[in-house]
Every structure is written in C-alpha cells, then in structure tokens.
Symmetry: C2
Subunit: 266 residues, 2 copies
C-alpha cells in the first residue's frame, strides 16, 4: 500500500502558523481529521517556522493532535533535540523526519536514533550538497541504510528520500532519480522510497500535470510513499489510479470507493 | 520521439462516416490538418464501417487526404486486398495497420508485406484469442518480429501492439502488459511498441485519469507510439509531460512550446 505522509501541519504554512500562535486547537484538530479522512497514513508535524518557539510549539501541537489522531506522527525538525523531546511525548512509534549524511546532523542524530522503535526518513544529502547522479544517490542511500542498520533500525523501517531536483535545471533530472530509485530497490528490496515531489516542476508552468505524471513514474520505479498534501485531489487521484494499474488494488475496490466518495476525478 | 498515430479518420466515427458518404472533402481535410497541427506523426485511415463500400471509400479518402497531408498514412483494414490497393496509391512509405498471428490474416498478409518499404503494426493476437500472460505476449511478439524480419521488414519498422486489456476484468492486466513491454524491449531494443490505450479503463468510471496514468506507465516501460486522438488534450498533455520527464525534451523546449500554444493544461 502506498503511504501518504500528510504535510499540512507545518508552521511555514500561514494558516497553521496563525493557529499555532493563537493556540487555536480547533483549527489544528480539524485539519488533522481531514488529512486522516483523505487517506493520510502519517501526520507530519513541523513547528520550525516560529523562530525561538519550536520547542513549545511542538509540545502544544503534539498535545493537541494526539488525542484525535489514529495514525502515527512524522516528527519533523532539523534539530535532534526537538526530535528527542517529541519522541518522548508520542504514544505510537513515530516516523522521524529526518536524518541525512550532513556530518553535523548525522553525528547528532545517530545517538538519538540508536535502538529506537521508529521509522526514519533518510535524505540522500551530504555536506557536498545535492546528489549529482543516480550512482551518487545510490551510494548515499547505501551508506544511510548500512549506518542505520548498525544501530538497530531495520531496512523495512527506512524511508530513503532520493531528493527530487527540478527538471528545469537539467533535462536529465527525472531519469536520474528514477534510475536511482530502481537501483536502490534492487539493492534493498525492503527499503521504502519517499520524498516530496513538487521540486520536479520548480520553475515550469502548469506544475500540476508535471507533478502527477512524475509521481506515476516514481511509483513505477518503486516509490511507495510520499510527503504530500492529502487534500490535493489531483495528486491523490493519480496515486490511487497508479496503485490500481500497478496491481495493488484487487477488483479495483479502492479505486471504485474513491470514485464513489468523489475523491477521484478525471 | 513519441509517435502519435492519429485515429480520427475512421468511418466508425459518426461524423466521419457522414462526411465520407456525402463525399464532403472539406470536413476530412480540416480534420487531417487539425491532427497534424496537434502533433500527429501518422494519419490512420480506416474505411471499414460502410459495409460493401470499403474499397471506394478508401480510394476517395486517400485521394482527398494525400494532397494536404505532410506526414505518412497508416493504412488500416483487416482486409489484405484493401491494404494492397491502398499501398499502391500512397506516395510516402506508409504504416500498415495491421498484421496478427491469426492464421487466415497472417497467411494473407505475409505475401503482401514481402519486401515492402513500410512500417507494420503487429498485433499480439492469434487464433486462441487475446494473450493470457506477459510471457504469452512476448512469445507472440517474438514470432511476429522473426517472421517479418524473414520477409525483409527490419525490426525498427515493426510496431508491436501488446493488446491492452481491461483492468476491470483482472487487477493484474496492467502489470501483465507493462512486464511484457519491458521484456519485448529487452529482447528487441529497436522494435517500437504501440497500441490503443483506452481498453485499460473499459468498464470503470472516470476513464480519463486511468488512461492518462496508464500511458505514463506504458511510456516508462518502453511504449514509444500510440494510436490515439491527437485532439484529446488530456492524453496529449500527459504524453508531452512524460516525454519531458523521461529525458526526451532538452531544456523542456517542447513542453514549454505546448504550454504557450495552450495544448498543455494541468
């Protein structure tokens, strides 16, 4: 089953920031419920945008969300101290968003993740920056999987993010990441592939059709999770449809259910 | 480059049938010009629907279309005698639509195709009916390629149609044809893959999203041609976008041109 990491609870979004700063729990609860109803399998929580308030905002968000949330949370911060604090607050084993190969982040994250019961998003980013080739992405994924395995995180709990880059900067950026995903899945069949998708269309017009065509290609390559807005009907319709076409929807039951509920539209 | 076999000139379509029976050349010419402008690379011509009139209708259509058509024609009939007559009338080497492994058709087509300068659509159909597995499709494609090679048709002139079947009848029908296309391209890298697409969504609601998601998957597997309506903006938008994402559109120039001309819309 394709996993949807619902990205809406993020203080970089204006209305969420307003709700968080006014401690408007109704707004947050309503948004979380909508994401769940739309098919989210994780709720991402990012409280990083109000500088100097991340810890208190994250605490308040977790206190607000957990009583109404039936699915696990994805704890989202670049700061390992915030993730550690948040981890101690959650009831269900969470997803940690994220570790990378940037030395400072990596060194701070590994002790924190050691032997923890959680899922981990592993970004193929290092101190040299974004990866430059499919081989580069694969090499970084391999290091991340091996290092995480060493501290007791099983491969099936690792969500590699190959870092989608804009095709407007280089016509080869689509094929590069698709090849990388195929190579990673060939080497580590149990690993999950996740990430944001909309970077692919950065700088181009009519971005929706690029994003939905790209998620289809990524799913074909082996992506089985994405960090998206579950209330975006266009991308969700495409994901449901691709899942059916790729043989993951017996008798087309899930597809038909989504059509009936109005969430799949041509 | 993805090749578009424009399917509109077919007497099974009501308005075309009316135009053909009234010898309304303006209608036909206008339609052909629209298909060319929309990016068709072949114009399919099928005069089969007016029983007893196929020969005269095909002659009239070819006389009408050729003076205004800058691209090759795809001569479309189950009757080898009609194809032979039409072949003698065309100025540019045509595409022949189609041969199959059904014995009667095969035996009548092979002498006609022998050493001809043309492209050939080869359907993976035999007297047992539709193929039942990816291996079955591959085996039929292999026989078709080998037999056509023997009579001097090079592999690069063969357009294998793996025969898309409705996913509503079996959740595996999508994966079956995708696997088959990958296997055929692995065995015969030069062969083209073509076909109609809309069968995949037969019997299901919201067919457009299924068709456009499916063409994306098929292109990823190796399909490089399709028999479609070039005036269907939704499917054409997806094909242009997938072509870009698969690395066939340097600097996104073709994509941007289509957006500017209004033919790509999210």
């Amino acid at each position: 089953m394709f996993e949807i990491i619902g990205e809406r609870i993020n203080t970089s979004r204006k209305l969420v920031q307003a709700a968080v700063s006014h401690r408007d729990s109704d707004y947050i609860i309503d948004d979380v419920k909508k994401q769940q109803a739309a098919g989210a399998t994780f709720i991402d929580v990012n409280a990083g945008a109000r500088i100097g308030h991340e810890e208190e905002d994250m605490r308040w968000l977790l206190d607000t969300i957990q009583p109404v949330c039936e699915i696990p949370l994805a704890l989202d911060s670049p700061d390992p101290a915030i993730l550690e604090m948040a981890f101690a607050m959650v009831e269900k084993p969470p997803m940690i968003n994220s570790i990378s190969l940037e030395k400072e982040r990596f060194d701070a994250m590994m002790p924190f993740l050691n032997a923890k019961d959680c899922k981990v998003i592993a970004l193929c980013m290092d101190d040299a920056g974004m990866p430059e080739s499919a081989g580069d992405i694969l090499a970084r994924a391999k290091t991340l999987v091996e290092e995480l395995n060493k501290i007791g995180i099983p491969t099936a709990n690792i969500y590699v993010d190959p870092l989608v880059q804009p095709i407007s900067t280089d016509s080869n950026k689509g094929v590069m990441v698709l090849d990388a995903v195929r190579a990673i899945k060939a080497e580590f069949p149990e690993v999950h592939i996740t990430g944001g998708l909309s970077n692919i269309s950065y700088g181009l017009p009519e971005r929706h059709i690029i994003n939905r065509t790209f998620v289809t290609l990524m799913m074909d390559a082996g992506m089985d999770s994405a960090i998206i807005d579950p209330l975006d009907n266009k991308i969700m319709s495409t994901i449901r449809t691709a899942d059916m076409l790729l043989g993951h929807d017996q008798f087309c039951m899930k597809y038909l259910k989504c059509v009936r509920s109005g969430t799949i539209k041509s």
